[in-house]
Structures are given as structure tokens and as C-alpha cells.
């Protein structure tokens, strides 16, 4: 398969996935008893039957669900119009955008840390195979794999607040809400520590494992023998020859992990009352705020599929085995 083929296939997969998500979202939206008229005027408001009928016509709800309403909804979504949140009485898109930054900050910090630490530790573990360091690293990743994210979060919350006096809730101090970001940077950073630590511990093990096994794999290749014969030390061989090739599976894992990252954000933000998309999702679920739930799902799914596509493209570009035409 040529590189163009691979890239085209990845684009096709992404397109199909988005289509499935959109369709699913539309179908569920029709299944849920969410009358868009009610959504706009509020559930408690009384209106006459005539007004309601007029509003139905205005919103196009008198038309058949398929294709008219479907096409109409698609058009609305494409324009970023995701309806109105029932619990917040604001446009869903507006609510989502307000929370997006915090979540991106948390996910980026957590992923970066776990990738850097995981790759480093994996490299060491593979290099010093079957030593105490290796066994310790493996045991650590086995245990973190078996630990539920939210529970680890609770433990760290208790430990961090009791012993280190770190803040346990929110994304900044109540007094600092609304102030410009630059002024309250230390406060934001302080609130990020525990959630980021949880994130890092949860995902670190996997990066370490994949790095370790690809280091072992690379170390058994012939060109490593050549490098050794050339007189390079093991460490030089690792950093100059093995590291680059061993990083390829890590790229794939990052892409694969994006979906799980979202799950991690939901759990961690819930535990730390962190003001982001994950907690918003959980709250929308509890308050049965369906427009918000649907909008958040659409946003998360599109973001994950998009980032996945990006990672796949990077992979196709990095891996010399995917040939150019």
C-alpha cells in the first residue's frame, strides 16, 4: 500500500466515524423526549396549545423526521448551533467553549508528563532488562492499570490536601474567577497539580510498557548489532538508533489513548470538581440536560476522531515502512 492509500483510508475511516457519531446523536436526540420547543422556552413555562403549535412550525418540527428534520439539524450542527442547555439556559456551544480551555490544559499537561516520564522509564527498563528497576517499573504499571482512575484521584486528593495543603476543588480560587488569566497563573497551576498527577499516574504505565517492549524489539534487530560492532556504547546505541524507531508505537498509543483520555477527564474532573468538559458531561448526565449531553458528546467525539486522524497521519509520515509513491 502506498502512503497516499494509507492516508486516504484514514480520512475515510474518520469520515465514516463522524457520520456514525452524528447519526447516533440525531437518533438518540429523537429518542429522548426532548421537545426542542420546551427546550427553548423552559420546561416550567405554561403556553397555550396554539402558541406551541406555532412554535413547532417555526422550528420545523411539523415536518417529517427524515429527511427534512435530519437535514435541518445537520445544517444547524455544522454551523455550531447545538441547541440550548436546559439546566443553564444558554446556548450549548457557548457553555462548551467556556469549559474547553480548562480541559485542554489538564489533558495536555497530563499527557505530556506521562509521555515524557513513560518513554524515559520505558527506555531505562528495556535497557536494564530484568533488573530491579525493570521489575519495579513493570509492577508499577500493572498496579496502575488495575486501579480505577476516580479512586486514585480520591486518594491523591486526600493525601495532597492533608500533607501538602494543595487545593482540592475547582480550577482556581473562588476569588480569582473572572480575573485575567495571566494574573492568576500561580493559582491555576496550583489547582492543576493533583488532577495532573492523577492523569500522569494513570497513563504513565502504558507508555512505559509500550516503550519498553519496542526497545526490546529494536534491540534484537541486526542494525543494533552493527552499531555495537561499530563500538558505540549501549546508551549511545539506544539514543541514536533505538529511540527513534521505538517511538513509533508510542505515537500509535497516543492516538489510541485519546478516547481513554476523555474518560480520564470525566473521572478526574468529577473527583476534583475541576471546571472542565468532563465534569460538565457528568453534570449534564445527572441533571438530564440532554441538549448539553448531546453537544458535549458531539464535541468530544469529533475532537477524538480528529486527533486520531492527525496521529495516524503523523505515523504514516514517520514510518518509513509506509512507502511513498
Amino acid at each position: 500500500m502506498t502512503r497516499t492509500d494509507v492516508i486516504l483510508r484514514k480520512f475515510a475511516l474518520a469520515a465514516v466515524t463522524i457520520a456514525v457519531v452524528v447519526l447516533l446523536n440525531f437518533i438518540l436526540f429523537r429518542v429522548l423526549p426532548g421537545d426542542p420547543v420546551r427546550a427553548v422556552i423552559g420546561r416550567g413555562v405554561r403556553i397555550s396549545a396554539e402558541t406551541q403549535a406555532a412554535l413547532r412550525v417555526q422550528f420545523g418540527l411539523d415536518k417529517p423526521v427524515f429527511p427534512d428534520q435530519f437535514i435541518d439539524t445537520l445544517g444547524q450542527w455544522a454551523q455550531g448551533n447545538l441547541g440550548v442547555s436546559w439546566s443553564q439556559r444558554r446556548p450549548v456551544a457557548e457553555v462548551l467553549v467556556a469549559k474547553l480551555g480548562n480541559t485542554l490544559l489538564l489533558i495536555t499537561a497530563g499527557q505530556l508528563l506521562s509521555i515524557i516520564l513513560g518513554v524515559g522509564l520505558g527506555l531505562l527498563a528495556g535497557w536494564r532488562r530484568k533488573t530491579a528497576l525493570d521489575v519495579g517499573a513493570l509492577t508499577f504499571s500493572l498496579i496502575t492499570w488495575a486501579t480505577p482512575t476516580f479512586w486514585l484521584g480520591i486518594i491523591l486528593l486526600v493525601a495532597g490536601s492533608a500533607w501538602l495543603g494543595l487545593p482540592t476543588a475547582g480550577s482556581r480560587d473562588p476569588g480569582n474567577v473572572g480575573k485575567p488569566m495571566l494574573e492568576v497563573l500561580p493559582d491555576i497551576a496550583e489547582h492543576l497539580i493533583l488532577p495532573t498527577l492523577t492523569f500522569t499516574l494513570v497513563y504513565l504505565g502504558q507508555y512505559m510498557l509500550i516503550m519498553r517492549s519496542s526497545v526490546l524489539e529494536v534491540l534484537s534487530e541486526d542494525y543494533i548489532l552493527t552499531a555495537k560492532a561499530k563500538g558505540l556504547t549501549v546508551w549511545q546505541t539506544l539514543t541514536r538508533h533505538a529511540l527513534k524507531n521505538a517511538l513509533l508505537p508510542v505515537v500509535t498509543l497516543i492516538a489510541l489513548n485519546l478516547g481513554f483520555t476523555v474518560a480520564g477527564a470525566i473521572y478526574i474532573e468529577t473527583v476534583f470538581s475541576y471546571d472542565g468538559l468532563g465534569r460538565l458531561f457528568q453534570e449534564a448526565l445527572n441533571r438530564q440536560d440532554y441538549p448539553l449531553l448531546q453537544g458535549a458528546f458531539l464535541l468530544l467525539a469529533v475532537a477524538v476522531v480528529g486527533s486520531n486522524l492527525l496521529a495516524d497521519l503523523i505515523y504514516a509520515y514517520l514510518d518509513p515502512r509506509v512507502k511513498t509513491t
Binding site: 456514525v20 446523536n25 492499570w145 488495575a146 479512586w151 502504558q206 474518560a263 445527572n286 458535549a296
Partner: protein
């Protein structure tokens, strides 16, 4: 039967496998023996024998062995009854997901062509959509439909019907290589039907792999169940370990310093997941022929197996000092 004996002897020699089995046996005993392991019922409130006041958030030093919760219920009792819920959901969802995954894998691998292509594209799509948000939205929709389905059944269905992609890929790869073997080709030549071949020739060969994978998938199912229950999707009248942690967290066990409320159920989840992972890894190492010749497989496929959906197989080989090239793991084949 003799095969089983040989297998058991090989398994028994494996330290990590036995450790995993021990963890699993203990938790099953906890679940089965719940009514006999504690003098209290799961809904009884504990009272101080002297003052007759309800013991709220009583530490283990006041009420043994694990204290009481915010409503004065005995936490040890809740833990044993919670084991029943967590383990049965994990088991049922695991079995359901294996059934779906194996069927998809066998059909895709055996029939090939457009069937294979279609099924594998479905698998791809399923792998990319973020799993937990999808589950949350599905459960929200189902609840709203008000079909009268118990939340626990809903959890089993949703987990079972969504977490089968890794199994399907694994089984498919195995079936693909089996299909080319002579015994299948011969059976085809003498006119055996597809159903007969799958039933008599393919299934017995992939069965060991299916069994090994079941245990691994169960660990995923238990973890996912605990997470969803923590988010409040469990059955509040029949609390699983995840629901217990949800209660503890939402009813201020943390600010009351009631560590005996939120620590035990979490440790129990780690305990069981660890048990499943260890046993599943050893079984897979013993039974999966693909692990013995990983060098020849497509490298790009390798990390796909290592996401949070599947347990880290590489671990065991390393922890037991065995190499994945199978120097001494071949007794069962």
C-alpha cells in the same frame, strides 16, 4: 480431561498465575459467602450497644472490622454484598463481550472478503469513538425510554456490546491462519459445510484463546463498571464497589476523614482486576500461539493490543523471567 490435568500442572508452576488465581478465589469466596461472612444484613443500621444511638461514620476502632458508613451500615457487610454485584456484572459483561467478539472474529476470519472488510471497519469505528461518553449517552437514552430494564442489566448490555473489538481482532487473526491449514482445506474438499467446519474444526482450536481472553475482558468490564457506577449509573439499592465509592464520595466521607468507607471498595476493585489480569496474562501466554512468534507479526498491530482495553501482556513474560519467544511455555501445545 487429561489435557486439563497437564494444563493445570503447567499453570501451577507459574508463580504469578497462582497469585492471580488466589486473588480471584478470595473475591469469589467473599461474594458467594456474603450472608455467612457477616452477622449483619446489607441494609441493617448499626447501633451503639450502650446508648443505642445509630453509629454514623464509626471508625473500625469503634465498630469492627471496617466501621460504618454515613447511614450506619456495616461496611464489611456492604463490601461482601458489593462483591456479588461487581463480580457478576464483570462476569456477565465479559462473557457477553467475548461471545460477540468471538462471533465477529470467527465470521470475519473464516468468510473473508466483503464480510471481513465490513466487520473490521465496524471494529475500527468502534475503537475510535470515545467509549465512556458513548456509554453514558446510551444509558441516558435508555433510561429515558423507561423500558423498565434494571440499571445492572443495562450496564451488562452496554459494556458487553461495546468492548469486543480487541477480542474480534485477536480471534480473527487466529482463524485466518487456521483456515489455511490442511485439515480445514481437506474438510472443505470432502464437502463439509461452513457450519460444520466452524463448529468442528475452527472453534475447538480457538477455544483456548477465547477462554484466556475472557478473563482479561472481565478485568476491563469490572473496571468500566466501577467507573460508571461511580458516576451514578449503578443500582443504588444494590450497591457494587463502584457505587459504594460514589456514595462515600458524594456523602462527604472524604471531609469526614472516613477512610474506611472509600478505601476498602477501591482496594477490592484493584484486587480483583489484578487477579483477572494476572490469570488472563498467564493463560494467554500459555495458550496464544501468536505470542510465541511476535517478530514475524505486523509491528503496527502490536500497540493496538496494549490500550486500556486490553491488559499488558508483555508484563508477565517479564515478571516471570520468561521471554515472549516461549522458551519454556510450550507444554500445552
Amino acid at each position: 480431561m487429561r489435557q486439563l490435568g497437564t494444563f493445570w500442572r503447567a499453570f501451577r508452576r507459574n508463580g504469578t498465575g497462582m497469585l492471580g488465581l488466589f486473588l480471584l478465589v478470595v473475591s469469589v469466596v467473599l461474594a458467594v459467602g456474603a450472608p455467612w461472612l457477616s452477622p449483619h444484613g446489607p441494609t441493617d443500621t448499626m447501633r451503639d450497644p450502650v446508648t443505642n444511638r445509630v453509629l454514623l461514620f464509626a471508625p473500625p476502632t469503634v465498630h469492627g472490622p471496617l466501621g460504618t458508613d454515613d447511614a450506619g451500615r456495616d461496611i464489611w457487610t456492604l463490601l461482601t454484598y458489593g462483591a456479588r454485584i461487581s463480580l457478576s456484572i464483570g462476569f456477565l459483561a465479559g462473557v457477553l463481550s467475548i461471545a460477540v467478539g468471538s462471533t465477529v472474529g470467527i465470521v470475519a476470519g473464516y468468510f473473508g472478503g466483503w464480510v471481513d472488510n465490513a466487520l473490521m471497519r465496524v471494529t475500527d469505528v468502534l475503537l475510535v469513538i470515545p467509549d465512556i461518553p458513548l456509554i453514558l449517552i446510551l444509558i441516558a437514552a435508555f433510561r429515558q425510554l423507561d423500558l423498565g430494564v434494571s440499571p445492572l442489566v443495562l450496564l451488562v448490555m452496554v459494556i458487553g456490546l461495546l468492548y469486543w473489538s480487541s477480542t474480534a481482532r485477536l480471534i480473527r487473526a487466529q482463524v485466518l491462519s487456521l483456515k489455511e491449514r490442511q485439515f480445514v482445506q481437506r474438510a472443505l474438499a470432502v464437502g463439509a459445510g461452513h457450519w460444520h467446519i466452524i463448529n468442528r474444526h475452527i472453534l475447538p482450536q480457538v477455544m483456548p484463546l477465547i477462554v484466556a481472553n475472557t478473563v482479561l475482558v472481565m478485568s476491563t468490564a469490572i473496571l468500566v463498571e466501577s467507573g460508571l457506577s461511580f458516576l451514578g449509573l449503578g443500582d443504588t439499592t444494590q450497591p457494587s464497589w463502584g457505587t459504594m465509592i460514589n456514595f462515600a464520595f458524594s456523602r462527604n466521607a472524604v471531609s469526614n476523614g472516613a477512610w474506611w468507607y472509600y478505601l476498602p471498595p477501591g482496594l477490592a476493585i484493584v484486587w480483583v482486576t489484578l487477579g483477572c489480569t494476572l490469570v488472563g496474562n498467564v493463560l494467554e501466554e500459555m495458550l496464544n500461539p501468536r505470542l510465541t512468534r511476535h517478530h514475524l507479526e505486523g509491528e503496527a498491530e502490536l500497540p493496538r493490543q496494549a490500550g486500556r482495553g486490553t491488559a499488558p501482556t508483555e508484563l508477565l513474560a517479564a515478571l516471570t523471567g520468561r521471554s515472549r519467544n516461549g522458551e519454556d511455555s510450550g507444554d500445552t501445545r
